[in-house]
Each structure stands twice: as structure tokens, then as C-alpha cells.
Amino acid sequence: MKRIESGNVAAALGVKLAKTQVVAAYPITPQTPLTEKLSELIEAGELEAEYITVESEHSALAVCIGAASAGARAFTATSANGLLYMSEQVHWAAGARLPLVMCVVNRGVGAPWTVWNDHQDSISQRDAGWIQIYVNDHQEIIDTVIKAFRLAETVSIPVMVCYDGYYLSHTHMPFDVPDENKVDTFLPAYSYKHTLNPESPENLNTVTMPFARPDRDGVNKPGYMDIRHNLQQELRTSIPVFEEIDTAYKAIFGRGGSPILSAYKCEGADFIVAAMGSLSNRIKDIVDELNLEGLKIGVLSVHLYRPFPQAQIIAALQDAKGVIVIEKALSYGNQGALFGDIKAALYPCIKRPFAHSYIIGLGGREIKKADLYDAIKESCTTSETFEDTSRWIGLNR
């Protein structure tokens, strides 16, 4: 069924179709109408779930951690400083291997206070051990939320579905709402390996020694470092798992096929622009124009940012002359976050493309088509004069 709704409604409908059992959310700034829509759906009896209002984002994720530990499918959503406030629990959920799904509606972080879009909030949480997926439009939001639950539950790692605040969250776009029965087939009921059970009580994530040691029954138990190593290994495993899940989704719903990276006009391109989220769609227009002018240039949209798909990045970029990374977040004091990751991924290649970095649109600064055009064209034509730091587009206006 086609609908024209906001990105937030697309996300809420995905959560509804996933038959989420517990939603916990902090309802005030920085929150979005996504959680309002969910409370409406629950109130109207369209989604049989417990909606738990909490006093903070930290508690929102803590409630989801409790719910998932007790065997319920749980969801929350946040933005910006709300995500930072729950940061301790973000790390906890990953270490505890809880298959939660959270939408992060991307916004800039304070100070100074801002409510507008960039990617600094979720990028700042990239090292927490979650899977992070960045989506480009409303259809991808609803589809990815459903796929995210299956991914999270298959590998037992929490998943963030990140979509641009305002550009996607508050704009209306047509999208197809998947059929409920088909989603039920795609996403079976939730089960968790260490579900809390009063019949068989367990301690979960208590103080864990630096060393492996025997438990009460003399069975050797892993130490902290072993558990963290396993998380890293299984994050790597989740890349092919996500591809398989996407293939299964495509077989049922007919959409998908590029869950990790999606390439536009990259076949045989000399230059490739890499970006995340709705910005990659905007760059397609520029790339179309530059192709008409005779430049061979494409866009690579990075969907899966953590775990970082190094092999796929190499395959997509190694034959290009140059890579231009345009992004809305950075590792302060260093460079663009995606830029750094892409360069590191390309390091083992014998023949490497040049790599340029641009920072754009922080805190909602207008992203002008002419600015994108000039920056990309300059990169393609004067590659050798570039410094290895990030250039900022659209300052002082």
C-alpha cells in the first residue's frame, strides 16, 4: 500500500509491522514525532505494545535493555544530545549483546544549541559496538527498520537506523508499506539467548574479571577482553548476514539489493563521491550534470557505516582516480570521520585513488547545489594541489 507521509511516520510504521512489544522514549526535545506516532498507534490498539514514558533518554534505553533481557522486542528513538545522554547505555546494550533497534534522527549536537541536521550525533557513537545503518529516503527508512530487527536478532547486536533530521524526518514522500502477513513471515518472533527466567535465575553482566575463570560449577567463563573480542568478530560476521537478510527481503518485497553501499554511475568512473544519508541523493544531481560535461563521475552512498565494510569499499573505489568524501560530521581535531575510514580501508591497495575531504551542512547550514558543484569539480580538476585536511563548504553565510 502506497502512502505519502513523513519519514518519522515511515519509521513508526516499520516499528509497528515489526510487532515491537516495548517502546520506551523520552518525549521532549530532542525527540521527533516518530515516538508520538508510536504512542498513537499503541493507544489506538493498532500495535500491541507497552509504551513506557521515561524521564530521560538514559532511562529510555535502560528500559529497552531491561525489556530485551526479559525477552521482549524493544525499540527507542532519539536525536542529538538525547543520544549523547544515553551514551552509557548505548555501550552497555552492545556489550550485553541485546538485539535492540533504535532510530537516530540525525541532528547536530550542542553547544551551541541546535536542532538542525548533521551527522555528529550518531557518528560520535560509532565506537560503541552497535551496527549503524544510514538511509537515504522514506522507503529505505521503513524497509531498513524491519530488516534491522531481523539483523539485530540474528547476530544479537543492537542496530541504529540513522536518518537525516528534517530532510527526511519531517518531509513527506511516497513510500510503500509492506504487507503485514509478509513481514510476519520475514521477521519471526523474538528470542534471546539469555532471557531472564525466574525458574533459572542468572547474573547478567556483573563485574567481569580481566582473566577467564571458572564459575560456580567449575565451567570456565570468558574474561572481559574475550567478550569484547567476540563482539568485534561478530560485528564483522554481521556484514554478510546483513547481505543475506537484504536478499531475503528483496525476494519477498522486491526492494533492496544494495544494503551495504549503493553505487550510482560508479561503473568505470574516474571520480567517485562518497557520502551518507540524503546528501548522497542530492549529489546525484551534480554528478548527472558533470557527466553531461564529460567527466566520468559517480556517487557511492555508504549505508553500513559500522561495522565498516572495508572489502566492499576497496572493491568500489580502488579503480577510480579519485575519491571525494563529503560529510556532515568529523572527528574533531582530526578530519572527516567517513574520510578517515575510507582512507584507512584503501591503505592496503597497491594503486590508491587520491582522497579529498569536505565538511558540509553542520547544524543545518544550507547545502547549496552550486557549492557542491564547485567543490566536486575543483577536486576532479586540481587534485594535486590538495592538502590532507578537510575543507569546509559554505562557511560564513
Binding site: 540474528t154 547476530v155 519471526p188 539467548k193 535465575p201 542468572e202 564459575d215 560456580r216 560449577d217 560476521t237
Partner: protein, 107 residues
């Protein structure tokens, strides 16, 4: 659900004595029960047991003469604090070790 080869390693354990290791070595002060003051021991009746109830480590037995499992007792002193007849005294481990050493030397 897909049958992937994830181990899903977490820090989980069955609760019970020893699930955090032999915590008796953490103890600085040892609880010593004076059975002349202890209610169940004095009356020879199952009664009181506030020490058993309050012990956060569950290492005190519910017997007429309550026993404290020193293998796991961390020496927090809650039992001594809660005992209504002040039958439990927290004694410095160093003093007890010293006394034990002297006894051993005599033998």
C-alpha cells in the same frame, strides 16, 4: 531465524556462592559470633536470623548456631550492624592471623 555461527559471548553466570570468585580474600575485618549473645543459639530455637536475612552475599547459615562461610564472606559488617543483641563483632583479620600464628608456633 537464520542459523548463523554467532557465539554471542556475554558475561552471564548462575548465581550462588563463588560466582564472583573466592571473595573471602577481600576481607579486612572478620565477623565473629558470640553464641552466648546470639538469640537462636541462646534460646536453642529457630528465631531472629536477621544476620542471615541481611547478608548481601548469602554466606550465613540459618542454624541454631549460625555459621559464616569465610571462603566468601567479604567482611562488609552488615550482619554486625543488624544484630539486635550485638552478638557479632568485627575483628581485624591481622589480629586473628597473628593469634593463629602464635597458636601454631606453640604447637
Amino acid at each position: 531465524m537464520d542459523d548463523k555461527k554467532c557465539i554471542i559471548m556475554t558475561s552471564n553466570s548462575k548465581s550462588g556462592p563463588g560466582d564472583a570468585g573466592r571473595t573471602g580474600s577481600w576481607r579486612v575485618e572478620r565477623p565473629v559470633i558470640d553464641l552466648k549473645k546470639c538469640t537462636p543459639a541462646k534460646r536453642q530455637k529457630a528465631s531472629c536470623y536477621l544476620c542471615w536475612l541481611y547478608c548481601p552475599d548469602g554466606v550465613i547459615s540459618k542454624e541454631l548456631e549460625p555459621q559464616i562461610n569465610l571462603e566468601y564472606c567479604k567482611g562488609c559488617g552488615i550482619c554486625a550492624q543488624e544484630c539486635p543483641t550485638s552478638a557479632i563483632e568485627m575483628v581485624e583479620e591481622t589480629r586473628l592471623i597473628e593469634e593463629e600464628r602464635k597458636i601454631n608456633e606453640k604447637n
